[in-house]
Amino acid sequence: MSSLSRDPHPADGRPGGGTPGGAPGSGRGSGPGRTSGGAPGSGRGGAGGGAGGGPARGRRAVRAVVRTLHRRPRLRLALLLTAPLTWLVVAYLGALAALFLAAFWTTDPFTSNVVRTWNTGNFRQVLTTSVYWHVALRTLGTALAVTAVDIVVAFPIAFWTARIAAPRYRHLLVVAVLTPLWASYLVKAYAWRTILSTGGPLDWALKPFGLHGPGYGLPAVVIVLAYLWLPYMILPIHAGLAGLPDDVLDASADLGARTWRTFRSVVLPLVAPSVAAGSVFTFSLSLGDYIAVQIVGGKTQLIGNAIYSDVTLDLPLAAALATLPVAVVVLYLLAIRRTGALNSL
């Protein structure tokens, strides 16, 4: 997410670019003179005209285009944005919009074909069926629990990597924390399936204490999701803590605050936006997950599973269900953006 610091947009307001008449003749005169200026002079008259004039003319055309683009930032912007925006709007937003439109259609109960008659039956069904309510609340609870676990676990790690570890190791430590983020999601969920299996490594490790692991189920889902998204929480908190100015902390100590007081009244408020930024990922990624739930959840159903199982039989219902996590995520993102936390990413 981009920082919103505004540079003075050098490409637009450059003095040289603003004087179209003078620039080519004076400043850049030596360039064209050597290449495009020289080649046509010899090429047009001589026998090798076709061979020599072609590339030179081509190059001159390129130069002309570049110069035009340079003088017209709006045109340049349009060219920069056309392809990506088309892609984004057509392939992504268009598909999303079509999906939410489909939520207002119905399904033929016999053929499972989508019937395009406008109605709000799917939403009524989602909102009035208690199963969906339970699934939705369970999902929300899971996402909140995952976020809470991640904040608690990430804070000490980030505090250590950002402020306690020797400065020359800090960068290395951050990389060490982030590398597992790129190990396959599936592999990690799969590893936890082995760890949590009956008689598996966790049971084996807890046996001497007379305990056993949680097995597959909702607690396992929370553990695995918290594990999967942990680096997303560590990195923003690390960045926030690393950015804390030392003099603020010194001032707090000089004014008599002890460690805990400084932490509560100075560090926490300053790092809160980073925590919020991290929570965007832990929360929204948990809301839609269904693969990890299938792998370690036992019989647990979250909203992702409900959407997944409805897709082939009743797409409009699945679409109506999908609006729930999307609405929650978008509201969450907008609320967080208001606090400015997204800029600290």
Partner: protein, 271 residues
């Protein structure tokens, strides 16, 4: 911040424990790939390389790997072009809706994968048949590209933000034209970020499963789809585990490469 020695020790222990917990599951996958027991009885009773040999000869895993590589390369190519363009537009221009755009670009990664997946699935189902096309590798590439763009965008935008326009201005003041400035100043400055973004985009595409589930054609099986499909088969478990171990080892490559290329915490660009 002044910390008591006790607080220091407690923090250090918790942090080290946390990092250990991050790596233990990955280590377990590696250890289990050598576990002679088919059901991964714990602790392992010995060491065997049999599963590695089996996995090497597994035709399913090989063809899935090839599909994943092609999908990743295709998606990365699209993402490189589009992501770099958006990054230049957002970082080097002021325009109406700039903030909305940088918000929109990240949506594909922030919204649940299952939503993106079914949205693309139903869109493809209504758009492709009239064109005489069906689900296949191309649909996977299109789907992956939508979120790979974010990674390239994040990398290049971060770099452009850091090297503000003053170097380009200097080049222009010294008489370089726009083309020359781009070739000799701008491009060398952003090149490594573009490459790092491409590497990481490939890695993201390589292990994506949710969106892939909804957009792959019947005959198209990427490596994650292959793993997921074989998870439930006890007979295949050791081979799946070896493939998982290979993926764990291979995931170091893009992170290391991106780190070398862009020097900054490029690995964080997934965020």
């Amino acid at each position: 911040m002044r910390l008591s020695p006790t607080a220091r020790i407690v923090l250090r222990t918790t942090a080290l424990l946390g990092i250990a917990v991050i790596y233990l599951p990955l280590l377990l996958v590696l250890v289990n790939s050598l576990n002679p027991d088919r059901a991964f009885g714990w602790p392992p009773g010995g060491i065997t390389t049999r599963w590695w040999a089996d996995a090497w000869h597994s035709g399913g895993a090989r063809s899935a790997l090839w599909v994943s590589v092609r999908a990743g390369l295709g998606a990365t190519a699209v993402a490189l072009v589009l992501g770099t363009l958006v990054a230049f537009a957002v970082q080097r221009h002021a325009f109406f809706g700039r903030q909305t755009l940088s918000f929109l670009v990240v949506l594909p990664i922030a919204l649940p994968g299952v939503v993106t997946g079914i949205a693309l699935n139903s869109a493809f189902r209504s758009v492709l048949p009239p064109l005489g096309l069906g689900f296949g590798l191309l649909t996977v590439i299109i789907a992956h590209a939508t979120f790979c763009v974010v990674i390239v965008f994040n990398n290049v935008a971060a770099r452009l933000r850091r090297v503000s326009g003053s170097l380009e201005e200097a080049a222009m003041d010294l008489g370089a034209g726009p083309l020359r400035t781009f070739r000799d100043v701008t491009w060398p400055l952003v090149r490594s970020a573009v490459l790092a973004g491409g590497l990481l985009a490939f890695a993201l595409s390589f292990d994506e499963i949710v969106v892939t589930t909804f957009t792959a054609g019947a005959g198209v099986q990427t490596l994650p789809l292959w793993i997921f499909g074989n998870l439930a088969r006890p007979q295949q478990a050791p081979v799946v585990n070896v493939v998982a171990a290979v993926l764990v080892l291979a995931s170091v490559i893009p992170v290391y490469g991106a780190q070398r290329l862009s020097g900054d915490t490029a690995a964080g660009s997934r965020i």
